[in-house]
Symmetry: C2
């Protein structure tokens, strides 16, 4: 027996149009497989006469999104508008009206996700958001469901396609940052104002959502420490390559089982070439999960784009439709505010390069600074760059605060001409 | 409000013991997060006095598995015995008694999975089996749920850790097959009789399960064409490396959208070095999924081992427990028998090497054989191996039947001394 599910779609940009097209193509197969018939009943847009990639029957388009979420004939609401308002208001209204909501809105969830999850629980309906993190990759479902019982210690993700594209070009073609960025912009992988991507804000929002779901405690975008890739030089990349590493912008969420503290950060990271994250190229995304029982897992795929994102939305829509039919819904549980470990108190291995005067006693002076701050050196390399020398150090695990103090003191040494990027290193 | 769920575990080997230990460690966290308290109430074993890695309270162990599946106080049954009987009989009885069942039994599902899925549906309870394919990697859930609406065209997996370990050693250390196999056996990655792994039977069973779930039509182990890795030579590996490929044993399930035919095969495959599957090393597994909307996805992790497998079982146990609490269950729908495309009618690119007499006209004679069978050559290489020559060809996409006919005719040519491995090639 088929159950008809009427969808109200808020927004008809890339993702909305791809979703409507995909539902048109797949509705028969979905019905055969699940007994649910999906119908795109209403689509709310800002401008009724804007050109669209998808054809819709008369009467489906409306300018009134509030009317859609209030419409008693609408069973499930899909929000693909983005941004905080009016998305929050509309989602809250839909949940309040007992309608399951699917959203792809990372900005919203990274800021007020926990409140919305609680609102959904209270209303007894689904709030699903696979598409908000890493586009088409089903990592949220894995964290929410498959790994619900797994003691997860760390999640590391390449969760911004723009920066991964840029870093891939810099690595494989020896391109400068500015040139790679321009190429990404020309190909439509980067915005005209690339700040949100290249400075790590976009990855930070996704990392906050991942941390919340992985550790079951509320982390918001403002909790995430971030450094972007705009200061990564082609010299950094070349050095990483020589030492057997690839530079990736990683979002890293860690939980300390002993203290319950959570640390979430985004920064350029040296990844060993044999690590699975190292082989994630171009604009692809991947999320690497470490658990005590399951070991290492990685989820790889398209992190953006209308069609992969629509695929993730559709998976959630079917889920919500089936749950509605069965009179049930998925719950995320309740979230208490995470105890955030400040970046100063986190630990990592670091790579630090600097240019120094090439004369007796310099290496001794420089290594003395590391020793004074209790930062232990794992590998060192000196290369002559006439008349100066370049020193590269990789440390053992050290505290961020100690490392930052080391950098500050090194900058003040008369023998040190300049201190380059400080890059974190992950193990193999 | 907490709901107590009493588990009956059938079997207490590696996976069973790891599951019981994991539940002991995680029960509080799971209860806090889901409101479900898991209790290992009964554990059926063959030998009550065998040494065990896990401590159990008095009265939990029993030799009578039938009693466990009939016990009205048992809520959920976990089957980690393996093999077809008595596992089938016990699972069928448990489902008939209205108990959700979690199984890690690939052999069983690859042979009678569709019947068991139907029995579960009829009984209105869950039958979950994440652990049966690729151990701790949550790929079954992704296929069952996230990708339910996705038009999947192909799934390719490294789904046998033993053979991936052996191929990794051969590739990275230039080891011969026999030496790598012996190392795998010494490390416990391969059985004393390695046939099931190295000849592709194990991967074939998992590929049948994957194909059934991905395409929604019943595929059994006997439908899967398989070639193992025992005839892959270190020369094949060296040649693959030189040409920019890695040799992997892949399980490949393809669906033809036009005809509805499904082809499932396991064979050594040349994977381009830049393909995500190429970076899956050692005993790790990975499953690569291609869909029209979602593009390429890959799921990577530990494909075997007590602890990762137990993690997958636990995810399913929590799912079944929550569904039971909500009075619902997941359904796989009904499966009609797949139309299997015979291996002769499948298409691939091929790499073929041969040793030939080094004299005028030989290349002409050899290429004539390819042309007669309508097999188009994409790349060719000749190297002198005094007094003979070695020829290596990579074809464009060709039909298996045509390729096999080409090989047969080449073998009959007087100029051809020997024909080496025929290896399929996947694109980048």
């Amino acid at each position: 027996m088929t159950r008809q599910i009427r969808l109200g779609v808020l927004g008809c940009g890339n993702v909305g149009a791809a979703l409507i097209e995909l539902i048109g193509a797949q509705a028969d197969a979905i019905e055969a497989r699940t007994g649910v018939r999906l119908e795109v009943a209403r689509v709310a847009v800002r401008n009724l006469s804007a050109p669209r990639d998808v054809a819709l029957p008369d009467g489906v388009l409306t300018r009134d999104a509030h009317e859609v979420v209030a419409d008693p004939t609408i069973d499930v609401v899909v929000e693909v508008i983005g941004g905080i308002e009016p998305a929050r208001e509309l989602i809250t209204a839909a949940l309040g009206n007992g309608k399951p909501v699917i959203t792809a809105n990372k900005e919203l969830l990274a800021n007020v996700g926990a409140e919305l999850y609680a609102a959904a629980d209270e209303a007894g309906v689904d709030l699903l958001f696979e598409a908000a993190v890493a586009g088409g990759i089903p990592v949220i479902r894995a964290l929410r469901e498959s790994l619900r019982g797994e003691p997860i210690s760390r999640v590391m993700g390449i969760i911004n396609g723009t920066t991964n594209f840029i870093l891939t070009k810099m690595t494989e073609q020896g391109t400068d940052y500015a040139v790679a960025l321009a190429e990404a912009q020309a190909l439509g992988f980067a915005e005209r104002d690339p700040t949100a991507d290249v400075e790590g804000f976009d990855a930070g929002a996704k990392a906050a959502i991942i941390a919340t779901i992985a550790f079951g405690s509320k982390v918001v975008a403002g909790d995430v420490y971030h450094e972007g890739i705009s200061r990564v030089s082609s010299h950094d990349i070349a050095m990483a390559t020589r030492l057997g590493y690839v530079v990736k912008l990683l979002g890293i969420a860690e939980a300390d089982a002993a203290t319950g503290e959570v640390a979430v950060r985004v920064h350029p990271t040296l990844v060993p070439k044999t690590h699975p994250l190292a082989s994630v190229r171009e604009s692809y995304n991947a999320v690497f999960v470490e658990g005590r029982a399951v070991g290492s897992l990685m989820f790889y795929g398209r992190g953006a784009g209308g069609s992969p994102t629509a695929s993730a939305v559709l998976g959630d829509v079917i889920d919500a439709a089936l749950n509605l039919t069965n009179g049930t819904h998925g719950s995320l549980g309740t979230f208490t505010r995470a105890k955030i470990r400040p970046i100063d108190e986190t630990s990592a291995e670091y790579l630090l390069s600097m240019e120094v005067a090439d004369r007796p006693g310099v290496l001794h002076a420089v290594t003395g600074v590391f020793a004074r701050h209790d930062v232990s050196i794992r590998a060192a390399e000196q290369e002559g760059i006439n008349p100066d020398a370049r020193l590269v150090f990789i440390t053992h695990t050290a505290r961020e605060a100690a490392m930052q103090a080391t950098v500050r003191e090194l900058r003040s040494l008369p023998e040190v001409r300049s201190v380059g990027s400080l890059l974190r290193v992950i193990g193999g």
